[in-house]
Amino acid sequence: MDALLDNLPLLRDGFLTTLRLTLVSAAVALALGTLLGACRVSPVPTLRGFGTVYVELVRNTPLTLVFFFFVFVAPQIDIKLPFETSAYVALSLYTAAFVCEAVRSGVNSVGVGQAEAARAIGLTFTQTMSQVVLPQALRSVVPPLINIFIALTKNTSVAVGFFVTELMAVGVRLANRYPADIITMLLGIAVCYLAITIPAGILAGRLERRVAFAR
């Protein structure tokens, strides 16, 4: 227990790094994923194809592999990124695929009549999407998005194997340094993660129930 308290600065830095990784990657993934989602439902076949290929590829690739690519393989093709940037890129590109699918199912859940009405008054595809469909899709998209966010928080722990000193890395380092207190150390790390994921999970559950009623 003392060992944990002595290393509070280290823990704090690790926690902040994890938070940074989560928030930045979430923002980028949200933007990218929404764009991809638009691609997948667009009338342009090439864009649809691109969206589908991207999502299928990423869904079938382990996140560890994506990290490995950006840290060790990408430099071979002249893409040289600092370690933390590689983590942002890997996490964002990976999570974007799942955001895309969430957005797509959200769009599909908006009543058909909405799109028909929008077309009936003469809106183009882009206008229909941006002014009518997406704002409504947002409601049913939020619970799955929160779950993706929770998964993202947990996925930041993969960065421990790739030169980023986030929460998990701090945990491993402390566990190695204080072999007598391993259980306490790792439990402390676990609590930090749960501090983010459990409230988010509860929030998602609540939002889901409210959305279900509003339908």
């Binding site: 600092p82 370690f83 190695n176």
Partner: protein, 286 residues
């Protein structure tokens, strides 16, 4: 690079094969056929079992490097084979386990390995947890930089720079304690540091000179050693704390190998292809 490396490994394999065909007693392949030990000792247990589990590195050229065959090769591997041979255990009955730096003590304590021969520096902190036979080699900490680097010539030049090393290693601990304004990037194996160095994500790699020499050799013309060694790293064979009989046995085996030339043969077949053959250090029976 790989062709050169494969030539290295083939040369090593050839050297071993030739030495075996030499006809005379070659300790590296000569297995004790009737090894007898006092009942209850670790040696007796291992000899009876007919197999031994040895922890070594899998990613270090010259000392412990595992290839597609699944078996590791290197000087540490050869030392392990010498010890096993004196227990009456054939080389192919040895179970090799990867012990990255941070795992060496835990694996010995948990009994996951019987001994560790993995560029394992003897120091007092570790002696509190495990016992050491040897040393069987003395290395020294130094720095690896890119071939065209001119501003790093010693540990004092590292101030403000980013240096890559391995979690749980003495070189990393040394930098942390004595050179605090160096930014340390830690990973679990030294080979992971090569790409970052190549791409200027780190400025240097620090660990023992022999490990770095292996990397210099493997990546012709890309890297060089900067400056002299600035510590002494005696490599020992880690074993369970308190097993004095086993420790004495291994020390005896080591001293024998110094005398009968098998130590030198092991060196020449592996690290000796690149580095000069040093004098074996005196074992420390503490």
């Amino acid at each position: 690079m790989s062709v050169r490396h494969r030539a290295l490994v083939t040369a090593a394999a050839l050297a071993l094969a030739l030495s075996a065909c030499g006809g005379d007693d070659d300790a590296t392949t000569d297995v004790e056929s009737d090894a007898e030990f006092a009942a209850g000792t670790t040696m007796a247990k291992l000899a009876d079992k007919g197999s031994i589990t040895i922890g070594t590195k899998f990613d270090q050229p010259l000392f412990g490097l595992r290839g597609p065959s699944g078996e590791p090769e290197g000087f540490d591997v050869e030392i392990g084979k010498i010890i096993a041979a004196k227990l009456g255990i054939e080389p192919d009955k040895i179970k090799w386990v990867e012990t990255v730096s941070a795992n060496r003590e835990p694996f010995i304590q948990d009994g996951k390995v019987d001994i560790v021969v993995a560029t394992y520096t003897i120091n007092d902190e570790r002696k509190a947890i495990v016992d050491f036979a040897g040393p069987y080699f003395v290395a020294g900490q130094t720095i690896l930089v890119k071939e065209d680097n001119t501003d790093i010539n010693g540990p004092d030049d590292l101030a403000g720079k980013t240096v890559c090393s391995v979690e749980g290693s003495t070189p990393a601990a040394n930098i942390e304690e004595n050179y605090p304004d160096v930014e340390l990037e830690l990973t679990d194996a030294y080979s992971n540091c090569l790409e970052p160095l190549r791409n200027d994500q780190v400025d240097a790699i620090t660990t023992d000179n022999v490990i770095l020499a292996g990397f210099v050799e493997q990546n012709e013309g890309e890297f060089k050693l900067a400056g002299e060694t600035f510590t002494e790293e005696p490599y020992g064979i880690g074993l369970k704390k308190g097993d004095t009989k086993f420790r004495n046995f291994i020390n005896d085996v080591l001293e024998e190998s110094y005398e009968d030339g098998s130590w030198a043969d092991a060196w020449e077949a592996t690290a000796g292809v690149v580095l000069d053959t040093p004098e074996p250090p005196a074992v420390d029976r503490y």
